[in-house]
Structures are given as structure tokens and as C-alpha cells.
Symmetry: C2
Subunit: 416 residues, 2 copies
């Protein structure tokens, strides 16, 4: 036996002792390192880093290199990742901004939900080879704009303060909530019957929950803040923020909407109560660590072999084009009172799909209501819309930076 | 059906849709909130917060309230928690300090390993009802001082800069490494045969790995730092630090020592290369979030019902007393050249057991080499030594703060 052979043998045998823990650490390392390598590559190609991280997941996952397998461990990390992602977006959102652009944003969100849903549903009803329930799931998967991805793209390009950006972010949050209600309807459909009363109740509870946190959350946080600061444990305010984040996420989960909405609302309530830059930096660190696991675990679930079928590729292409066109038209109409150019900006900004669409597809897969193909089509649509939007957003927003004053007028006058 | 019944029913049905994710978020919330409530309670009682967090795990775990079950999800979070804990301790350690106190610390560590090991092993050989392999595991479980717990106790009491503290921290790291080598021996024993050559090789590789990182790690990090800063991704230095942390942890796992040693070494290398307070704050946030999951998951694994047997309680008591006495004597003798009072401080500071001892017990349990009882005894010993040490540490260090200058003399003269 050679020396190298001996070392390998020894390493293998002794790894068994710390086996499980060693394997987990290796998986975490591979996921984090590959995500960030791809993110860097995409940044250099002037493409959104999020797309690079999803592609990293596809590459290291079972479809290509099979370095890491999706497991309940990668699942829980992905869950934590998206919770922190939305929590951080919430921290950067002022409830005042949401209230100010509320009416336009609601119109944008509602039209941006209705148009894509019926387009996706109608398409698959006409397209041969898919079930009626898959058509409903595809429609539901096309509904929600990705708050996280939109916010990242807009802020990395420096447009986060523009009037259209505020409308986009607020509308994206509202359509996330609508998307999750659609999901509740669709899931009960998949189980054989719709319980209208329960869904109406859930909708009411969910809307009430969101309004409650948005109206009194900030004040409540401000009131308990001195008491939190007087606690003896270290970093008490950060820990309070984290407990609030997971607490509201758990409440959201219990009343039937996705946990990420609760995490977002926790962030908004905290942002109103404090300007703590330490908290921003700390929450940012948590997101930087955890978000890659969310994006990578999305990619790992994609079964690439479905794209060997030309029919599936054609469907994915049509769905993607439809996803772009329907948001552009639906949201654009909703924002027309802001003027045509801003309506175009809003429409383009709402194009990227992400978290919620993929969550819809995952739940469809878990309920066996949706096959590998529709899961892959929704995932491809989410990735491609995210890839397609940034160049257009850039062009549409480009002159914006030169006219910052007229922006506030546009917002203040018709809404004030 | 009452309105409340309807709401509950609706909530239950709709939770099914987001089911798995909702359950995970609820578990995370319960673990985090209970850990921090108990930490706050223990701080107010002037007891170490870590003990409160372990007790929180016992309370919410299957032994008492059964609110959260140990699962692969809680496992992976616990793993990440201890990795960040040791990474942060590494960040606060200067390799220069390690080199300065190296000789005394090595003597302290070696004697602090040998004495408790043979005491624990000898005790269980004589005690009726346990196997020879359980005796070896008990000895191994008594070996390693908890770096994380010791560092937390010393820094929360403001003694982290004292001469004895530096010796304690360095010796604790060295005995962690020795403890993990002992674990490798013990694990191969449990599997039926000892492979001396492989263990010798592992020891050599592990020591070489540690020395390599301690000698050239800092310089290497300093050299790549400008290139890392020029990367396009956000928070590139934090992400580099995290990749390094999990990378070295994975390497440590592959060469047969525990991942936490790699995480610690990554922290030390980074601390030498940078004074980045942002990195400290960000790593601190990650530890604050993740460490509770480590401590809670330790507690959740304890089967309280074993303590219904008076014989087990008696054994746990004897083992705890022995664990305290042997570290005090072994480490005290190792530090005698520093003078009697400092030898006493070092001996007391080395008493708390933790991570590694519990890891040993866990691996013994996983290999079926150790029963529930010895697992519980080791866990009780780890918790009780952590509880017992702080008051004594406080008394022994109390006059220290008044004599800061003579401290450096003591260290510089005999070692310089």
C-alpha cells in the first residue's frame, strides 16, 4: 500500500467517526463557495448575482455534478435563507412609503396577478398533455414578482429611491400576499375540493395580520425597545429582532400564508422603530450567509433532463415570453396614472419572478399535483425572467437619475 | 361549528399547504426564544447563560414538554452553531498569544488530558454494570475543556486579558485537538480494533494542519485580502471569511479531527490578518443566531428519565467531582511554574467541559458503544462542571484586576 493510499485510507476510516458532521460541513462549504464563485462570475458579466447562485445549485446538484444532494438539512437552510432575505428587505422598507404609494401599488399588484394567472392557466388548458390542475398551478406560479430579486437588482443599479421603485417594491409585496392566497386556493383544489369559507377566512386573517403589523407594529417595537435594551444578555436587540422575525414567520405559517410574509413584516416593524445601523449590518451578515443556501437549493431541485424534450423547451419559452408580456401589460396599466414612462418602468420592474413562484411549484410537486416538467418550466421561467429584466430596467430607468425632483411631485400630487 | 372552531379548522387545513416550512419556522422560533429567555434568567441569577440555554433544550425537548423533536434539521443548525462559536473564539485569539504561552499551555493541556482520562476510565472499570468500551468513552468524554464556554465565562467577567486566561484559552484549544485524537482512537476501539498506524498518521496530519494554519495562515490571508476586496460581490470579505471557515472545517473533518478545530483555526488566521471590526460584528451576529441552536440541541438529546435511577445519579455525581478534581490537579501541576495562585486560576478555568465531551458522547451513542446512561452522565458532567466553575473562577481571579502589570512579567520572563 502506497503512502498516499495509506493516508487516504486513514482519512476515510477516521472520517467515519465524525462522519455525519464532516459530510454536512463539506456540503455547506461546497454550496457556499460555488454560489459565491458563480455570483462573482455573473457580477463580472454584468448579470444579476442571484441567477449565478441558482445556476450554482443546478451545477452542484443531482442534475450535473451531484456533489450535494437535496436533503432536509439543505431544505432548512434554504428556508432560513429566504426568511432572512425577506427580513432584510423589510428592514429597508418604511411603512410610510408603503402607505404613500398604497393605492397605485394595489392596482399594479392586482392587475399584475390577474393577467398572468389567466394567461398561464389558459395556455396550459390549450397545450396538449397536461392536466387541468397543472394548468392552475402554472397560472399560480406566474403570479408573484420576486421582492428579493427585484430589490437586489434595483439597489445594485442605484435606482432604489426612484418613484417607480417604491411602487414596484410595495406592489411586489402585495402580490406576494395575493400569490400566497392563490396558492392556498390552488392547494385545496389539488386536494380535491375548494373550501371557499376557509379560504375567505384565511384571506381575511392574512390581510388583517398584515394591516395590524403595518399599523401598530412599529409603535409596539418602539415601546418595548427600552426594555429590550435593559436585558442582561449580549446583543439583546439583535436577538429580539430575530425572535420577532421567526415568531411572525411562524404566525404567518400558522394562519396559512407563507412564513416569508411574516419575516418581511417583522423587518418593516423594526425599520419603523429604529435606525440602528448595527442591526442592519448584523441582519445583512445573516442574509449574506443564509441567502445562498436558498438560491442554491432552488437550483438543486431542477431536473435538467426534462429539457431534453423539445416540447418542454418550447413550453418553457412560451411561458417565459407570456410571463414577461403579462406583467408588463398588467402592471403597466395599473401604473398608467403615473405617466407612460413610469408605467413602463413599473411593468419592467415587476417582471422577475422568484421565491413565491418556485414555492408554488415546490408545493405542487410535493402534493403530486404537478409533474417534473411543469416544475422545471416554472423554475426556468423564474430564472429567465430574472435574467431578462435587468437590461430593460437599466434602459428604462437610465434618465431617471437626472430628474430626481420631479419624481416626488409625481408621487405626491396624484396620491397626496 | 363555532367561529373559533372554523378559524382553527381553516388554519389547520391551510397550514398543510405550507406545512413542512411552517413547522420548521415554528421549531426555530421555539428554540431561539426559549434559549434566550433562559439565558436572560440565568444572567439575572448571575449564572452562565450557556447553562440556561442547555436547560432550555432539556425543557422543550422530548424529556419534558416535547415541543421540538431532535431532527436532522436541528442537527445541522447545532453543527453550524458550534462552528460559528469556535470561529468567533478564533477571531478573538492572536496567534502571537498562542506562541507566547505555548510551552506552559502544552504542559497544562497534556496533564489536563491524561489525568481525567485515566480517572474516568478507571472509575467505570471498577463501577459495576458498564462495559470496558463505555469506560474508555467516559474517560474520553472527560478530557476536553470547552473553549467556547470558558471563553464566554472569562470574557463576561472581564478577565479575558489576564495571564492565566491566555494560558487557559490556549491550553483549551490544544486539549480540544488532543481530545479529538483520543476520540479517533476510542471510535476505532468501538469498532473492534485499533489501527495504530492510521491513528499515528491522523495525529501527524492533524498537528501538521494546525501548525501550518497557525504559522502561514495569517500571512496567506493578508496576501489574498486585497484581491478579495476587489471582488465585485457585496460583503466579499465576510463571504471569504465564511468560505474559509467552512472550508477549513471540512478539511479538518476529512483528515479525521472535528470540524470545529478547522473553524477555530480559520478564525485565528483571519484575526492575524485583519482588525476589521465590521467582520467581528458580523461574525458575532452569526454566532448569536446560531449558537443557541447548538446549546439547545445538546439539551434536547438528554433523556431525563435515566436520572430516576439512584445508581446513575450517584455515578453522575462521582464523575462530576472527579472531573473537577482531575482538571484542577492535572492543569494546576502543568501551570505550577507560573506560581501557585495562577496555577489555581488555570486549574479552575479548565474545569468547564462542553462541546467536545458531548461530541464524544454523541459519537459513542451513534456507534452504539455507549448507552443512554453514560450519555446522560457525560452530559450532566458537562453541564454541572460549567455551572460549578464560574463562582470559583470569580473568587480566584478577583484580586487580579488590581495587579495588571505584574501579569505580563510573569508571562514574559519564564517564557520569553
Amino acid at each position: 500500500m502506497s503512502v498516499i493510499g495509506l493516508i487516504q485510507h486513514a482519512a476515510l476510516r477516521l472520517t467515519d467517526a465524525s462522519g455525519e458532521s464532516g459530510r454536512i460541513l463539506l456540503s455547506l462549504f461546497i454550496m457556499l463557495a460555488s454560489a459565491k464563485l458563480m455570483a462573482e462570475l455573473f457580477e463580472r458579466l454584468r448579470q444579476p448575482a442571484v441567477v449565478g447562485e441558482i445556476l450554482a445549485g443546478i451545477i452542484i446538484g443531482p442534475s450535473v455534478l451531484s456533489l450535494v444532494q437535496p436533503s432536509s438539512a439543505t431544505e432548512v437552510l434554504g428556508e432560513i435563507g429566504v426568511v432572512f432575505l425577506l427580513f432584510t428587505v423589510g428592514l429597508e422598507t418604511r411603512p410610510g412609503d408603503i402607505r404613500k404609494v398604497g393605492r397605485i401599488a394595489t392596482a399594479v399588484a392586482v392587475l399584475g396577478v390577474v393577467v398572468p394567472f389567466f394567461a398561464g392557466w389558459g395556455l396550459l388548458v390549450l397545450w396538449p398533455g397536461y392536466s387541468a390542475i397543472e394548468a392552475v398551478f402554472l397560472g399560480a406560479g406566474m403570479v408573484a414578482t420576486s421582492v428579493g430579486i427585484t430589490a437586489r437588482v434595483l439597489s445594485s443599479m442605484g435606482f432604489i429611491g426612484a418613484a417607480a421603485s417604491r411602487v414596484i417594491l410595495t406592489a411586489a409585496v402585495i402580490d406576494d400576499i395575493i400569490g400566497l392566497l392563490v396558492l392556498a386556493v390552488v392547494s385545496s383544489l389539488a386536494e380535491g375540493r375548494i373550501r371557499y369559507l376557509h379560504i375567505a377566512l384565511t384571506a381575511l386573517i392574512a390581510i388583517g395580520f398584515a394591516i395590524l403589523i403595518l399599523t401598530v407594529g412599529g409603535r409596539a417595537v418602539r415601546r418595548v425597545k427600552p426594555r429590550v435594551s435593559s436585558l442582561r444578555i449580549d446583543h439583546s436587540f439583535l436577538l429580539f429582532a430575530l425572535v420577532l422575525c421567526f415568531g411572525l414567520a411562524a404566525v404567518a405559517g400558522m394562519i396559512g400564508i407563507a412564513g416569508i410574509v411574516g419575516a418581511f413584516l417583522a423587518g418593516v416593524a423594526l425599520s419603523e422603530a429604529t435606525d440602528d445601523t448595527r442591526l442592519h449590518l448584523q441582519a445583512g451578515a445573516l442574509t449574506e450567509f443564509a441567502a445562498p443556501f436558498f438560491l442554491v437549493s432552488i437550483g438543486m431541485k431542477l431536473n435538467l433532463s426534462i429539457f431534453l424534450s423539445p416540447a418542454v423547451v418550447a413550453l418553457a419559452a412560451v411561458v417565459t415570453v407570456l410571463a414577461i408580456a403579462t406583467k408588463l401589460i398588467g402592471c403597466g396599466i395599473g401604473a398608467l396614472t403615473m405617466g407612460r414612462r413610469r408605467a413602463l418602468q413599473v411593468g419592467l420592474g415587476m417582471i422577475p419572478r422568484g421565491e413565491v413562484g418556485i414555492v408554488v411549484a415546490q408545493i405542487g410537486l410535493a402534493l403530486s399535483a404537478v409533474g417534473d416538467k411543469i416544475y422545471g418550466v416554472v423554475l426556468a421561467m423564474a430564472v429567465l425572467t430574472t435574467l431578462a429584466a435587468p437590461p430593460f430596467i437599466k434602459i428604462a430607468f437610465a434618465p431617471e437619475t437626472r430628474l430626481p425632483q420631479d419624481d416626488d411631485e409625481v408621487l405626491d400630487q396624484p396620491l397626496g
